[in-house]
């Protein structure tokens, strides 16, 4: 059956893995484990990008997210409590309120997606050549992003300074 083509099978596996890992990340009671599950999700996301043939994006995801950010998390977790600080949930009442709103939100969104009807006909498996990415990042024409790029770099600088300032001992 065409429905069960390779792509779909791979996607299904990936999706199951990601969902499980995400769920585990928000329910586990150990901080280090939560961060590890998050790492799994991030890897899965990179896989999704690869499936979309956005290989560069996938690479960025692995390098920045999985490589950079998660390391920060791990450092933080270790600094704060050697990973032993439990991450228990809030009160029962709020737990159920959160559960209720998130589940109903999910259901509503899913309903909208299922009934929405997206066209998939424009999808091509060409991917994005690196050259295009590079020129778009550095170009100044329409649909080019040098300004954003520079702003982002300033933001990162500011964050760096800010983070140092905040975390510095008095």
């Amino acid at each position: 059956m065409e429905l069960l083509s390779t792509n779909i099978l791979i996607f299904a596996a990936l999706a199951l893995f990601m969902a499980t890992a995400a769920f585990a990340a928000v329910t586990t009671s150990r901080m280090m484990r939560a961060v590890t599950y998050l790492l799994f999700v991030l890897f899965g996301t990179a896989g999704i990008y690869f499936m979309l043939h956005y290989t560069f994006l996938g690479a960025v995801q692995i390098i920045v997210y999985a490589g950079g950010i998660v390391v920060l998390f791990i450092f933080a977790a270790l600094l704060i409590g050697k990973g032993t600080i439990d991450v228990t949930h809030t009160s029962k009442m709020r737990y159920f309120a959160g559960l209720l709103t998130s589940v109903s939100g999910m259901l509503i969104t899913l309903y909208l997606i299922v009934t929405g009807g997206f066209s998939t006909d424009k999808f091509t498996a060409d991917g994005v050549p690196m050259k295009v990415v590079g020129t778009a990042l550095m170009g100044t024409d329409k649909h080019n992003y040098v300004l954003t790029f520079e702003v982002l770099s300033i933001l990162l600088l500011a964050c760096m300074v800010g983070a140092i300032m905040i975390a510095r001992k008095k």
């Binding site: 990340a25 928000v26 329910t27 991030l42 990162l156 800010g162 905040i166």
Partner: protein, 103 residues
Amino acid sequence: MIVPAEFYLILATILFFIGVFGFFTRRNLISLLVSTELMLNAVDINFAVFNAYSHPEQLEGFFFTMFGIGIAAAETAVAIAIIINVFRNAKSIHIKNLRNLKH
């Protein structure tokens, strides 16, 4: 066979609301940040999917995702700096203990 866009969207939705659920219910600042990352990821996926399926001739979603990743990095860095500082001052990162900012 191409995976239909809805599948990706469904996955992103599930991830997003798992993140929301975590954000609502966790009591630890780092866990909250983890949940936030989950939500951000879900949104990033959506951007990429919409780009790939709706407007493949332009790369707006693509770059939005990329910049999103960049900003997530920045945000995480600052957030973690704050968390560490809070921990240093309050000896706790449990949000129920962090009520001093209220008054």
